[in-house]
């Protein structure tokens, strides 16, 4: 420390004007670009950090929005899958098939390959072969069971939900049309079911 201070005191004694002017100018010239450089570096750095943090913030906002959209779509998917499962459940399919006039055929025929031999006698069903298989509940009930689901899916997304809701509106109308035709067969099967049952009891 003392060595640093030493030259200043003797310097002020001897030739001050010449020696002071030159280094001052050269110092100023050297400092300006350096300060500019530092300022640009600092400014650039600060701007960079600002841009980066803003970008990250924005992206995190986007991420949050996309995540909530993903959740929303996942929920819709779950509702639609549940609706599909409702419609394809054994109970619903059987009831719809019954409403369409389809009846179980207990007279199977098998074709043996490659010989083509037929096992069993293919027989047309009359509809009363299996009186115990008449669905006990009114046929229209299972068709209406998925009804709460369409309301849950109609609003959030337009495309899939409108498709599903139109399916819903069309399906019941077709089955309702067929029900009129099948109800008669229902009655006939019912009346015929009691006959064999009574016949079985008597002997």
């Amino acid at each position: 420390m003392s060595a640093l201070h030493a030259p200043i005191t003797p310097g002020s004694d001897s030739q001050p004007t010449v020696l002071r002017a030159v280094p001052r100018q050269s110092h100023q010239l050297a400092q300006l670009p350096f300060i500019l450089f530092i300022a640009v570096l600092l400014g650039g750095g600060l701007t960079g950090v600002l841009v980066l943090s803003t970008t990250i913030q924005t992206q995190s906002g986007e991420l949050a929005a996309l995540q909530s959209q993903e959740a929303e779509l996942r929920y819709q998917e779950a509702a639609l899958v549940a609706q599909a499962q409702d419609l394809r459940s054994s109970q619903n399919l059987a009831d719809q098939a019954w409403a369409l006039g389809m009846r179980p055929n207990p007279n199977p025929a098998f074709i043996k390959m490659p010989s083509g031999e037929i096992l069993g006698v293919p027989t047309e069903v009359s509809g009363n072969e299996l009186p115990g298989m008449v669905p006990p509940a009114p046929v229209s009930v299972p068709v209406t069971t998925p009804a709460p689901e369409p309301t849950s899916t109609t609003e959030p997304s337009t495309e899939p939900s409108t498709e599903s809701s139109t399916e819903h509106t069309t399906e019941p109308t077709t089955t309702a049309g067929d029900q009129d035709g099948t109800e008669q067969t229902d009655e006939s099967t019912n009346s015929e079911t009691t006959q064999p049952a009574a016949g079985e009891v008597n002997p």
């Binding site: 201070h5 913030q57 509702a79 179980p104 007279n107 115990g132 006990p136």
Partner: protein
């Protein structure tokens, strides 16, 4: 080193004294010079000392505080800081999916929410209560009513009930009430719409928590097998209960740091992924199950019976293809059903099996070599057992029946005469080997205590032996009886009944189940003889009963049972149990159908109330599993009489 410092400090003291002198100017010229040396801090050294002491004290305080924060209370402080920033949420594990044998979903978990209200925030509609404009105040006043209306629209219920909850702004201890549970298990899709409407209306204070709901797409189908879950998503009955430890999975947890502007992008976050429950594939065939439930419901309704059960079993594996009981319940809504109907009667209800039990008696006698199907039995009008006579269901004089005829015509007297040839201990041991009196080992809960049935021991009384030979004086469950007969017609090999085909954890590892090895209970020859005797009751031209009705193209064997039920005093006047067991094809039995109708009113013979259902189920099950019709169905000619 010391010299420049001294120079500087002396210069500093000089200038400061000059400053002081200026402020001291009004005191007078004379006093100025004298007062200066008199002040205690006028000395440069003292000032420096005081300054350093002050700095040292400050640094000590700061260091002490730092030590306190960083060293002593470090954990508590770090936790408090982290707690302010960090949020954590439970990531619910999905309960395992249950499929039927064809991959149809029987039970799954659907996203749903609990709806929670924050009445304190609702009272100011989310604004700061101390700085609200008059418009904001006016809107906040309308908030509870408006929110209640939206709740009614989406969740149903009563507006006044919601209003009571929404305006309850203080807790019991006077603090702000920020938690009111409005509804549970609200479908995610419904909640989304409701949340959207609340946001659109500018209403604040309704939020949600994950509350997944168990969903059974088939409703009542196989509900007795599946069971149901309670409100906390824990299995409460059936398979859901029995396999809860594997089905439930393990919840995960997510922690992250967030500020009022949302998640801090590069903040600390941890994620423990939830482990979903195991996936189960059952042996149940949901379509056959539907057929079984439908035909059983019709049978119970037409017989005006109290209840009914049905089991359809693959005899060569013990797999349960369908297992139903009526009345039943909807697994989605078990609360609406009668508590007595929430179980699985097939597994839990023991009853006296009646004449179906004669199949087991004959199997034991045949295997022991004591009889053949053609053994001649002279059947008297009645037979004395203990001090009471045993009669047949129909009045007759002395009959000359073969053992086959005894089974086909279901003669109690003939069966007692044959059973008396076997000692009681051997008979009891045979019945025990058929699985009576013990758990079948099926993966369903409830096979304990009275549900194991009662099998008299080896030291039973003579009259008890007589009774159990035709199905009274002992009790069985439908599953025990079905599995026993499956073993008898399956060449004599018993398979433990099962409803689970496979189960896999979320990681893909198979879950193994403790299953008894198949065991031989009677010889193949005895098995074939039993099937031959059972076929007689369906196919013999000598039979004229209601259940002597074959299936076109197939050879079916069967046995009916009609048991009087004992009342609470042990007297046989508590109604009837009508049952029927059918196996087919008789040349190589593949499928067994067992139907039990409890307390029928309109008819009571097993051949009347249970046989039509068993036959119709067999008619549908045989082609369903690709069992081709017999190329040649010979006329049944084996003799029932001699």
């Amino acid at each position: 080193m010391s010299s420049p410092r001294n120079t500087r400090s002396s210069a500093a003291s000089r200038s400061s004294t000059a400053g002081r002198s200026r402020t001291a100017t009004p005191m007078g010229k004379n006093s100025r010079r004298r007062a200066r040396p008199g002040l205690p801090i006028a000395s440069t050294n003292k000032r420096i000392t005081i300054f350093f002491v002050f700095v040292a004290i400050m640094i000590s305080l700061a260091s002490g505080r730092a030590l306190l924060l960083q060293g002593i209370d470090a954990d508590a402080n770090a936790q408090a800081a982290a707690a302010q920033l960090s949020q954590s949420q439970v990531l619910k594990a999905d309960r395992g999916v249950i499929y039927d044998r064809n991959g149809e979903v029987l039970a799954e978990t659907q996203p749903a929410f609990s709806v929670i209200a924050d009445p304190y925030s609702i009272s100011s509609n989310g604004y700061d209560p101390d700085h609200m404009t008059s418009d904001q105040r006016a809107k906040a006043d309308k908030a509870p009513a408006a929110i209640a209306e939206i709740l009614v629209k989406y969740l149903g219920g009563n507006k006044d009930d919601y209003l009571t909850q929404l305006t309850d702004t203080r807790t019991a201890d006077g603090g702000p009430n920020q938690y009111e549970l409005i509804a549970r298990k609200v479908s995610a899709a419904v909640y989304q719409q409701m949340a959207a409407e609340l946001t659109a209306g500018g209403w604040y204070g309704i939020y949600s928590a994950p509350d997944p709901v168990r969903y059974y797409p088939n409703g009542t189908l196989a509900s007795n097998v599946l069971g149901f879950v309670n409100y906390d998503d824990e299995g409460a009955a059936g398979l859901e209960y029995g396999q809860n430890q594997y089905l439930s999975g393990t919840d995960g947890k997510q922690t992250y740091q967030s500020s009022r502007y949302g998640t801090i992008p590069l903040g600390d976050s941890t994620l423990i992924e939830p482990v979903n429950g195991a996936t189960y594939t059952l042996t149940i065939d949901s379509e056959l199950q539907w057929m079984a439930e439908t035909s059983l419901a019709n049978a119970v309704a037409s017989a005006q019976a109290k209840s009914g059960t049905i089991v359809v079993q693959a005899v060569d594996t013990g797999e349960i293809l369908a297992m139903a009981t009526v009345p039943t319940f909807d697994s989605n809504n078990p609360g609406s059903a009668d508590a007595d109907d929430l179980g699985n009667r097939v597994v839990t209800d023991a009853y006296e099996p009646g004449s179906v039990q004669k199949v087991l008696t004959m199997a034991a006698l045949l295997d022991a070599g004591l009889i053949t199907p053609d053994t001649k039995v002279q059947v008297p009008e009645q037979i004395l057992s203990g001090d009471a006579p045993i009669r047949d269901a129909w009045s007759h004089g002395t009959l000359d029946l073969t053992a086959r005829g005894v089974l086909a015509q279901s003669s109690n007297i003939g069966t007692v005469e044959l059973a008396r040839q076997m000692d009681k201990a051997t008979l009891s041991n045979y019945l025990a080997s058929f699985g009576l009196g013990t758990s079948t080992g099926i993966e369903l809960p409830g096979e304990t205590g009275g549900a194991l049935g009662i099998l008299p021991g080896t030291d039973m009384a003579d009259y008890t032996r007589d009774q159990i030979s035709f199905g009274q004086g002992l009790s069985v469950t439908a599953l025990q009886e079905a599995s026993a007969i499956s073993a008898i017609v399956n060449g004599g090999v018993y398979h433990q009944p099962t409803v689970i085909a496979s189960a896999t954890t979320a990681a893909g590892d198979a879950i193994s189940f403790d299953r008894a090895e198949p065991r031989r209970v009677i010889s193949p020859e005895a098995s074939a003889a039993v099937v031959n005797m059972m076929e007689a009751s369906v196919a013999s031209p000598e039979m004229t009963t209601a259940d002597s009705k074959t299936i076109d193209g197939y050879r079916m064997a069967g046995k009916s049972g009609t048991a009087q039920k004992a009342d609470q005093y042990g007297n046989y006047n508590g109604g009837y149990t009508g049952s029927y067991v059918a196996v087919a094809p008789a040349e190589d039995p593949q499928i067994l159908v067992y139907v039990v109708i409890d307390e029928p009113v309109n008819g009571y013979y097993g051949g009347t109330v249970a046989f039509p259902t068993a036959r119709q189920m067999m008619m549908q099950a045989l082609p369903r599993y690709g069992i081709a019709p017999s190329t040649d169905v010979p006329a049944y000619t084996d003799p029932l009489t001699y």
